[in-house]
Point group: D3
Chain length 322, copies 6
């Protein structure tokens, strides 16, 4: 049972279900030597603290993923060199780039998924037992794909992964699908989970959507945070929404937020390498304490933290569903 | 005769003909519950103070228009629910969205125009006598159109409206036309008023232009503020210009500003949901006191205020005309 | 009662409801001196034969409309100079170009509509009593619009016109709307009539649609032929469909063809200035004799003719409706 | 051992390794009632003759696949209704459209793959034992994908499929990948096989490429015919190339044609619904007799046939390889 | 004095100033082994007959230029291998591709210009004395440029070249410029000669224009044939126009054709690798006999010939000038 | 020998080879009356101080260049009117606009190059002896070109200029070429110097690159600062890199930075008329003192200053080269 996750009470003047950490961003763009930016990163409880896998673009603006450790989930000690993978269930571990990792513990190990450059973006899979030695597996899918997110347990005996089929550029479309695998090597049973929404119903999620943190199992089903994008005349704006998926058949959506839960309104979210982006990739959740800490990339530049109460969020979803 | 409009003297170090209110923005993005942004809004004198119609996008980023009241034109009390319209001269009051309202008193009532979603953006028309009960009329035009702006009195016995034919996306072109109607229901006699300007002559208005506040009748003709757009490599930048149109034949332009009068240079104009936008939708003007208060949307996020002296502005137009 | 219209029986091996004239095209691209192409043209019964208004692009590829006369509707005598208009209900008869005319007799005169170049394409209106003297009226709409088609009688006391709002280029979208006018000068009460159809249901009409000939009043309502466009990887392909609209409320569609009735399959339709275009602009119809002659432009190059039986077409629509 | 396949000797004036059947096309666009076009289709030896699965777009331009039978491989008897599938290894047999089928016999049944519309194009899989009853399986991949082509036998114990990841429109890119499956349900081990070629080296295959018929096992490895596309200023032009892949590791290309083997030069290939397309989907091959019959779609309109000698083709590949 | 050039009298039913050779095309796409197409080529009088440089794309669709000889200018004997160049005024004779050659005799040798692939298209220059040995010089310009055409004599003591600055794709713009050189190595004094024409004035030349054959010196100045392009919804259509430039200052245009002189209307011009293209690259002219033979590429596939009388053409230009 | 250039020591917490001036920006957007922005400007030592040529866009957003003087290189006195040029080596001194100047002393005078509007952007050339009287020469190249940068001395007896061929819009490509001239009038011997870099190797310079300040001669060759651009989903981001070119053959690159040396991370670089731009146009360098002052435009709005040690920069290039 996860406890003592990072936490700050809701400000008195807020009526939002997600609120920002007052000392955001928690990781700055230059937190390690030669980094251009550190964002869209994933954390998990590990031993008596936390471990994580961090997207760090260096000053050649090459994208890679780095390990990190923290006692409190807020102050992080990041490796200065990217993760080097050993062969896992394959010898083919080519990678032109790696970005936007997610991490989850299933059964006996920590699984990592990321956007992997193999003749275009697709979903890379790896695992570690200790965040020291890492093993890379077969890519889950053909290119082009992004935002591959595993469920934290098998569903009907199979691994399950959300993803967002893409193209090879700044994809201007994108829906969330689910796929299943008996063995983390071969994938199939692909189903649509959620589509973008017509502009007039919920414009912030009308251009593309993609799964964020590992889904959280609640009494109401899987709580999924996701990003949604609106295409303004001056570019994409990324916000955060949430949905509840059926436990046994996550391709069925029970509730889905019509309003966003978090959108770029702070200077560090509106100004940076890519302005107007909040992009969630990880969450720590203590249902017992009714606390959730959401990690998100800000403006493709820094890593920030928001908080919320799972019970409030679920209630909000029920009352504000599409 | 309008008096005591919002006012602040020109700063000593300014040589501009429009200057910002020192406490801008006057309405913040979260001024009402569930608002994502409040901007591109219209105000008129009403009773002993002011009334207005405000564009407020909610947190689903649905666009709608809301009534508001103010004693001083600066501090506003906005409704928390969008305007609901009753049938006016039609039963067909469908609307997928409403945005960018303008308001004007003609004869016996307050007319409102806005960008109305009817299978794409077109010009919606409505009226109210009291800002409590609102009536919706036939759309003025076929889609696709935006920035419909009525003249405050009939011209040659007919209602007159400026508008900007568009397409169904982030229109990359746009000129200002005028149309006439005997009855606010059927429109015709469409004439071009002003086109965009070649890049090398006045780049800020080289991509598209659109009418702003209700034109102001002066001794020199109709004073029209309008927005102009330049297409930079990082998106559209919206600035404010002005023109003087002939009183009896407003399709004839007497003077038109080569330089802009206001451009995005303040942080709240350069940073927000759509960076680098100043978008004027309303003006209060006391020719007697030689004062003008211009309301404009900032960065598609907040509502701001600028001031100027009509005599100076007209003189500026004469000296800086295309 | 119209009789003796151009006619040829259906070939024995055909099971289509429209079939081609065996001597197509009836007007070649070089039928008059200096013509590049003659197509998308309109004919009406006139005196003891037929008159028409023809789109003829000259060898500068300037688009204009020309008068023509015929005894039999097949062999045409075309003017060598374009129509010159006198002022009708307006002095503003500017026109950068004219194309795709339609002609209809209403009450006391022949009304002509066309795509009129006034700072972009919009709907021009004119009339003639004798096809010798022509008068031009106010444009019906603001730019950008194409395919303005009048109904042959007033509906609920008002003139009615179909049109297709467009943009200022090779518009990649387009639906059919209806507008009403008390006086052929001011237009309003705009309503959507028909939209494009999702690709998987009827791909030939999935990109844009536009009204063709003047609607024909039948016992089943207005019989409307229209063109539909599919966007292939090698450009647009234009086919012909049909619909039945309610007599008193033509914005209501009773039946609409899921299959096309005619598509480009003949060499003169597949090869020319714009390959793969059949574009209907006029029809002669004798309900008494159950005969219909449809005039259409082929490959934006020549004018061709197809035949059908109205009763068969209506039956087809009922059995093959979307 | 396949014998007596359709055949015609090479014309005396030809020095090409593929030559056309003199009575092309073998199936016309209107070969069955209500068909708009019949092309991009697949045939296999069946009983004492041939069976096939044919792409037929109807006159609503809906894409579907139809069964057909032939004694000689040239004259075909096509079903008038599309194939209806029963559930195979899944209950989820949704399909918005089906096109570009391939057919291959493996082990005990005929497997069919096609481009299947499931929220965009992906690879559908089905099977039949008798071309009367058909069963549909799980889609192989997430959208967007096209040109899924199975190998005729398992490779290293697994089913193998070539495919071309795409986007959801007229994809302007495309390379050939291979994927493996233990069970025709879950797929993985995705590898790049061949990429497009830089314009200056072989322009006809510089925009996109895709596998054509089922690969043919020869002493030199797998003989794969594929289509290549050049993007001209007037659209895509599709030609036919060939390659030899390693038997045990087909992702390794031994030889690949720098010149095309067949390109659109006949009127029925240059004129039609999509001009300038030759698109191979099936081949009959008798290595013993050194004869090959290649079925290809012409101009997305009709089905045509070309012939070649496998020995000559392989020699050509060795001498003209990239 | 050039005599006995290819010639055929104007057909009786023609009123055009250019008419086609009745046996067009004179060179077919497969005139040499391994050719995909032969078009956009240049000829000059040579010894007692003619020599030429021909664009021939091979079946890998690699573009290169080939020498050829003819007795009568109609029947050509083409080399089977592309021209190999020796270093001329430079050692840098890199070339990714060569296409659209022009040839002219100046002073003591035959100069060849072509579109040369050096990190994109630019203007290559070479020369020969005998069409056996060829020498390549410095490229005239930086990329991106096409249609470099030399004047046949020095102007004010300097070599002069027309060209059309482009981009690196299917350039959708293009005007004709002139540049001067003292030495065929360094170029400067760049001046605009002719721009595209607004759509409504002469649509066939509204998208881009480019010089064609070597300008012909007449009493009225330089007679220049050029191609003009209109952008239809189904691609580019290339036609032929002409202009008269001032002898001493060719950047000054005396007359320029508003109508085209030749446009694609024959099947071999409307159907081929790029439909709807006539593209002139060379002319033989006998002013004494008042005969002109114009060589042009047809549909980017074959080489064709048209004839005209210089006196008629010049008269036409005077009477039909923009 | 240049001494006493602007200077500030590296901050203690920095490990970068370029660091910002602590009082940036040194010239604000409104430094002269009617200026919209002042940026992308060039300075040189002049007499006992410095002179410069500044890009100043006025409030009509017309781009022009202005002279300026400074004692210390930091505080500048700018002319209020743009430079007016007299004819230099040509009478043709048309210019629709001028921007992004560079300045260099060669032999006896100060040469200025800039982006000059002559039917599109090309490279303008001028000179001055005193920054009071200016002379304009022939444009170096045909349109479209930008970022023309002269070497400070002749190379092999010829003037040498770097440039970046472009298109006529927001060019999405761009490599650096070198051209030579015997006389500053005619240019040739064009060679590629550096291309953009594949995304995965150095994304910040993967879209386009262009030369910055006048190259600096060092013992290791020419030290060239340049800008590189990445195309994010929200627009272009401009960073600064550096390279060392061979002294006698500058088209040969000895070293080139894989990481950038400076990227937009300060508010005045991330917010402005074009967010996320640092654009270097000039440098003052004292190799003796090992000091370099780099002038750059920030966000296309203001002028800023960075410092570095040439020895460190060269060492960095050697250790971090592509």
């Amino acid at each position: 049972m996860l406890k003592n996750i990072p936490w700050q009470e809701k400000p008195h003047d807020s009526n939002d279900v997600l609120w920002r950490y007052s000392s955001n961003p928690i990781i700055n763009r230059n937190a390690i030597p030669q980094s251009n930016s550190i964002f869209n990163s994933a954390v998990v409880p590990f031993k008596d603290g936390y471990a994580g896998v961090f997207r760090c673009d260096n000053k050649a603006v090459q994208m890679n993923i780095f390990a990190g450790f923290s006692k409190d989930g807020i102050h992080w000690d990041l490796a200065h060199d990217p993760i080097e993978f050993l062969p896992g269930n394959t010898e083919m571990i080519d990678s032109d780039y790696k970005y936007d990792p997610r991490v989850v513990f299933i059964e006996d190990r920590y699984w990592i998924t990321w956007c992997n450059g193999y003749h275009g973006p697709t979903i890379g899979i790896g695992y570690t037992f200790d965040f020291k030695e890492f093993f890379q597996c077969e890519n889950a899918f053909l290119p082009f794909n992004r935002n591959g997110v595993l469920f934290p347990e098998k569903i009907n005996g199979k691994y399950a992964m959300l993803s967002r089929p893409s193209d090879n550029g700044h994809t201007a479309f994108g829906d969330i699908y689910i796929s299943y695998s008996p063995d983390m090597k071969y994938w199939g049973e692909h189903r649509l989970v959620m589509k973008v929404v017509p502009f007039e119903h919920s414009a912030w999620q009308s251009t593309k959507i993609g799964a964020g943190p590992i889904p959280i199992l609640t009494d109401e089903g899987w709580l999924l945070f996701y990003h949604g994008v609106i295409n303004t005349c001056n570019g994409f704006r990324y916000s955060v929404g949430a949905a509840l998926l059926e436990r046994e058949a996550p391709e069925k959506v029970k509730f889905r937020s019509q309003p966003y839960l978090l959108a770029p309104t702070s200077p560090y979210e509106m100004m940076g390498d890519v302005p107007n982006v909040v992009f969630p990739c990880a969450a720590l959740c203590s249902l017992e304490e009714d606390r959730l800490a959401l990690y998100y990339g800000a403006a493709d530049t820094t890593t920030a933290l928001a908080f919320g109460k799972p019970s409030e969020i679920i209630e909000f979803l029920k009352n504000n569903s599409l």
